[in-house]
Every structure is written in structure tokens, then in C-alpha cells.
């Protein structure tokens, strides 16, 4: 072998090592997401298990009182679940109809110019920090509600629901818009040719044709409402109770977690562990919702050529 050959061979080897090393590094970066997922599960499970050594899991799910910080203590998560449920239902009442209507407007009616205005507005609404929505709920929506329903508490589920509804609205609108636009024009034209009005085309052809995407967007939006924290912490109050009255102060799971972490709770105490027990429940609910949305998208996807 000549020297020229060996150097070229060596260079070739060096380059291969370089290539493989880089690939390994990139792989490790991608692997981090699995590590984070496992990390979340381990951290939540570890402290939650410790919590359930002190508190029976039956009490956790059946006791109707949640007084974890003061004696006599009660660890029934139902009031927190009910609070979260109230917010989810309330926000769905606002976010879903308006979101779907905007999506239909965007995909079926809007001119290119109107679209060019509405889309960025939805993006801006989606990008506003949740703490700002909380401020808006407390200082604008609540006084407005008080004006209509005088018995409204300063902290109430209704105002928080309304702003959470506004928060999930852009998500519903843009996901539904994508789904509606994936329905081919030939279907619309076919329906028009049969004499359908635009209303009939939209509701009987386009919406059913995009149903999997629309339903998945609802599930994702609701999952987002479940995990919403700042707006409900600021506006919905800190009194866990089982009530369906939206004008009363309540507490959601997320707001409870914030409340505990605001105080100075020593690690290892039962109060500290409640964060993880409630957090684990929250994680399970949102994970189930996200998996369900993916399943809906995969199983019921309408395929168009």
C-alpha cells in the first residue's frame, strides 16, 4: 500500500467514526423524550405510592371532602374532580360551538382576505399567556357576571369557564378547519349539483366527512381544559366543594396543586405527597384523552384520494 492509500483510508475511517458519533448524539437527543416520559411517570408514581400508604385509595376516590391541610383531614379527591369537571363542561359550552362555527366559516364561507385576518387573530388568542386570561376573568368577566347574577362570588367557576372556553377556542377552530379543508371539493360540488343549499352541504356532507378530525379536536381541547392552571387558580377560587352552581367558588385539581406549592410544605410530608397523587390523576386523565384522540384519528380517519 502506498502512503497516499493509507492516508485516504485513515481519513475514510475517521469520517465514518465522525458520522457514527454524530448519529449517536442525535439519537440520544431524540431518546431524551422517552427519558422525560419515564421520568414523569416514575416521579408521580413514586410519591403517589407513598401517599397511598397513609391514605387508602378507597377514601381518595369516595370521600366527598377534601381538607388535606387542616385537622380533621380528609383526602377525598371528588370535590377537586367536580371542580375540574365544571370548568371542562363550562369551557366546552363556549369553546366548542364558537370554535366549530369559526372553522366552518373559515373553510366554507370566508374569502381569502377574511381568512387572512381571522387566522392570525386566532393565533394571537392562542398565544396569549394563561395568566393574562386569569386576570381578564377576575377583573372583567366576573364584574360583568356580578352585574347579571348579583349573587356571583368574587371567585367563581363561571368566569373561569368562560375564559378557558376562549383559550380552547383557537385550538378547536384550527384543528377543525384543517379537518374540514381535507374534505375534497368534489364532494361539495356533488352536493351542490344535487341542489343542496350551502347549509346542507356544510352540515350533511362536509362536517360528516371530517367527523374524526372534529371529534379528536374536541377531545384534545377538553384535555387542555383539564390541565389549565393559571386562569382557574386566579378566577375560580380555592374552596374545594361538590357543587354544580357555577357562580360559587370552587377548586380544580390544578389550582390545588398550585395552592400547595405556594405554601412552604416540607418534602416527604403528606401535604407534599398530595401534589403528586393529584398530579398523577391529572396526568392519567390527560394521557387517556390524548390517546383517545389519536385512536379516533387513526381508526375513523376518512380517507380521500
Amino acid at each position: 500500500m502506498t502512503t497516499a492509500d493509507t492516508t485516504s483510508l485513515r481519513r475514510h475511517h475517521a469520517r465514518r467514526w465522525h458520522e457514527e458519533g454524530l448519529k449517536g448524539f442525535l439519537f440520544l437527543c431524540a431518546l431524551l423524550s422517552i427519558v422525560v416520559t419515564i421520568g414523569i411517570i416514575v416521579v408521580l408514581a413514586f410519591e403517589a405510592v407513598a401517599f397511598f400508604r397513609h391514605v387508602s385509595i378507597v377514601e381518595f376516590f369516595t370521600d366527598t371532602r377534601w381538607f388535606p391541610l387542616l385537622e380533621p383531614r380528609h383526602f377525598g379527591v371528588l370535590p377537586l374532580l367536580a371542580g375540574t369537571f365544571t370548568i371542562v363542561v363550562g369551557s366546552a359550552l363556549i369553546g366548542i360551538p364558537v370554535g366549530v362555527a369559526s372553522a366552518i366559516y373559515l373553510s366554507e364561507y370566508a374569502s381569502a382576505r377574511a381568512r387572512g385576518i381571522v387566522k392570525p387573530i386566532l393565533e394571537i388568542l392562542a398565544g396569549i399567556p394563561t395568566v393574562v386570561y386569569g386576570y381578564f376573568a377576575l377583573t372583567f368577566v366576573t364584574p360583568l357576571l356580578k352585574y347579571v347574577v348579583p349573587s356571583t362570588n368574587i371567585f367563581n367557576a363561571a368566569s373561569a369557564s368562560i375564559v378557558v372556553g376562549v383559550m380552547i377556542l383557537p385550538m378547536v377552530a384550527s384543528l377543525c378547519d384543517d379537518a374540514l379543508r381535507a374534505v375534497p371539493d368534489s364532494l361539495r360540488q356533488g352536493a351542490y349539483a344535487l341542489g343542496a343549499t350551502p347549509f346542507e352541504v356544510a352540515t350533511r356532507v362536509v362536517v360528516p366527512g371530517a367527523l374524526s378530525g372534529i371529534v379528536a379536536s374536541f377531545v384534545l381541547a377538553l384535555s387542555r381544559a383539564v390541565g389549565e392552571t393559571m386562569a382557574v387558580t386566579i378566577a375560580a377560587g380555592a374552596t374545594p366543594k361538590l357543587t354544580l352552581n357555577p357562580f360559587e367558588s370552587i377548586q380544580t385539581m390544578t389550582a390545588y396543586i398550585v395552592q400547595v406549592s405556594l405554601g412552604d410544605t416540607p418534602a416527604g410530608s403528606t401535604e407534599y405527597q398530595t401534589i403528586f397523587a393529584v398530579g398523577a390523576l391529572l396526568f392519567c386523565i390527560t394521557l387517556a384523552a390524548n390517546l383517545a384522540a389519536n385512536r379516533i384519528l387513526r381508526r375513523f380517519r376518512e380517507v380521500y384520494e
Binding site: C29, L32, T229, F283
Partner: protein, 291 residues
């Protein structure tokens, strides 16, 4: 015969329904615009009287007229700086691996699924993770570093998803041309694919960072809600951030503090709008110079 005669009335009804439906959809959509306007006007009207140089250059205070957001502004700057430092390289690297290198193996499927799920995990759960792992286990305390690492994990899925989309939009012809000239995989990615995807990656990254600027819950979880009347001088210092300061003021009962919160919100929204404008500008420019 009778059905034919009845048709016009029926048709009129159907067209009326169509017009009503269109009107409802249009009104509800433009209602969003009204909402945004009301939100902005409300915050600006409440906060504007408090917005002056003193507000930007003073530390928080018990006295509303002397309170400012200096420590919050610097805290946010430190936090976002470190978050960008951690999340951008890792996120872009992960996206490159998944788009350019990954084959159809089991582990890659698991990676994809976990990224999709992480994108849907509530931000407060990241806060719990940060509290347990960074603050307690790694004993970083309530430092800028712990906050930035938590925030990085939170926006990592967003950066990965956006970067993947940008990489996917690069036409394969560019890759084939590079290979045909004898470039290795990495040379192709480094010198041809990445530069073509740069504007898309930048846009997605800026939007992800603007999300991090507004996030409050994870920072509260790791304990950033403390009275901080100094500017952090290193990554191990305690800090406060703009949304935390806003939350602190909103949760006080006095009207004056609510107005201070509004002033803080105006500053926060201006920062976010500027970042969005930069992102839109980059996207627009890259579309104009598309090959």
C-alpha cells in the same frame, strides 16, 4: 303534483336556513376579534397609567406607587436565555434524527409516541417533575437553572414537532444532489438540508420560546414565587419572572395591584407580539425567496 307545488315554499325555507347558518358562523367568528379587542383594550386602559420608566426600573414593592418589574424582566431574560440554550440544540438534533436518520424500528416508534404524548401533558405536570427532579433531587434549589431546565422540557416537544415539519418540507432533490456529489449523510444534512429548513426551524423555535415566556404554572411549582428584589447574577441565583410577578399582583385584593398587573400584562404582551412579528417576518421572507 302537490309535492311539486309545495317545493318553492320548502326551498325558501331551506335558503332561509342557509342564510341564517352563514350569519351565525360569521358572527361567531368575528366575535373572536371583538374578544381580542376587548381583552387588549381592558388591559391597556387599566395598566397604561402605571406604565413609565420607573415601572421598568424599580424592584417589586409593598407600595404600589413604588413597585416595578426590574427583577421580573431580568429574571425572564435569564430564564429564556438558558431555556433557549438547552432546548434549541437538543430539539433540533432530535428532529434531525427523527427526520433524516431514523428507520422503522421499535425504539423510533416509541420515541415518536412519547413526543406526541409529551406535547399534550399539562404544563403543571412539568412543574411537578421539575420540583421533584431539579429542585429536590439534583438540589439545584429555586434557581434560574432549575427553572430553565423545567421550561426546556416543556417546550422541547414543540420545538421538535416544528423542526420536523420544516425538515420534511425540504425537497428530496436537494438530498439526492448532495449524495450524487459524494457528500456523506452528515455533510448533506449540515450543508444542504439544515440551511434550507432554517427559516422554518427559527419560526417554530421563536413561537416555542414565546410560549415559555408566558408560562406561569411550572415556575410556581418550582417555587419561583418569592419576593425577589435583586437581579440574578448567575444561573444558580433565585429569580422571579414576568408572568409570576403578574400572578403575584393579580392575587392581591387591592385595586392598585390589579392595575400594576395590567401594566405588567401590557409589557408581556408587547414582548410576545414583537416575537410573533419576528416569526411572521422570517416566514414571509423565506416564502418570498423560495427556490
Amino acid at each position: 303534483m302537490s309535492r311539486l307545488l309545495a317545493a318553492p315554499a320548502n326551498l325558501r325555507r331551506r335558503h332561509r336556513a342557509a342564510r341564517a347558518f352563514r350569519a351565525i358562523c360569521t358572527v361567531l367568528t368575528w366575535f373572536c376579534l371583538v374578544l381580542l379587542a376587548v381583552l387588549l383594550v381592558h388591559a391597556t386602559r387599566e395598566g397604561l397609567p402605571w406604565l413609565d420608566l420607573q415601572f421598568l426600573s424599580e424592584f417589586p414593592s409593598r407600595f404600589p406607587e413604588r413597585a416595578g418589574i426590574k427583577s421580573a424582566l431580568y429574571g425572564t431574560l435569564w430564564l429564556i436565555g438558558f431555556t433557549a440554550l438547552f432546548s434549541i440544540p437538543i430539539g433540533v438534533a432530535a428532529a434531525i434524527y427523527l427526520e433524516e436518520y431514523a428507520g422503522r424500528s421499535r425504539i423510533n416508534t416509541v420515541i415518536e409516541v412519547s413526543i406526541a404524548n409529551l406535547a399534550g401533558v399539562p404544563s403543571i405536570v412539568y412543574g411537578i417533575l421539575g420540583l421533584a427532579v431539579f429542585v429536590r433531587w439534583m438540589a439545584l434549589g429555586r434557581s434560574v437553572l432549575a427553572g430553565a431546565m423545567t421550561m426546556s422540557l416543556l417546550i422541547l416537544p414543540v420545538i421538535i414537532i416544528a423542526s420536523r415539519e420544516a425538515l420534511r418540507a425540504v425537497p428530496n432533490s436537494i438530498r439526492y444532489a448532495a449524495y450524487a456529489l459524494g457528500a456523506t449523510k452528515w455533510q448533506t444534512v449540515r450543508h444542504h438540508v439544515l440551511p434550507s429548513a432554517l427559516s422554518g426551524i427559527l419560526t417554530g423555535t421563536i413561537l416555542a420560546l414565546s410560549r415559555a415566556i408566558g408560562e406561569t404554572a411550572p415556575l410556581i411549582m418550582i417555587g419561583a414565587l418569592t419576593y425577589v428584589a435583586f437581579v440574578p447574577s448567575g444561573p444558580m441565583d433565585q429569580f422571579t419572572a414576568l408572568p409570576i410577578q403578574i400572578f403575584n399582583w393579580v392575587s392581591r385584593p387591592q385595586q392598585d395591584f390589579h392595575e400594576l398587573a395590567a401594566a405588567g400584562i401590557v409589557v408581556l404582551l408587547v414582548v410576545l407580539l414583537l416575537m410573533n412579528a419576528v416569526a411572521v417576518f422570517i416566514r414571509h421572507r423565506s416564502q418570498r425567496f423560495r427556490l
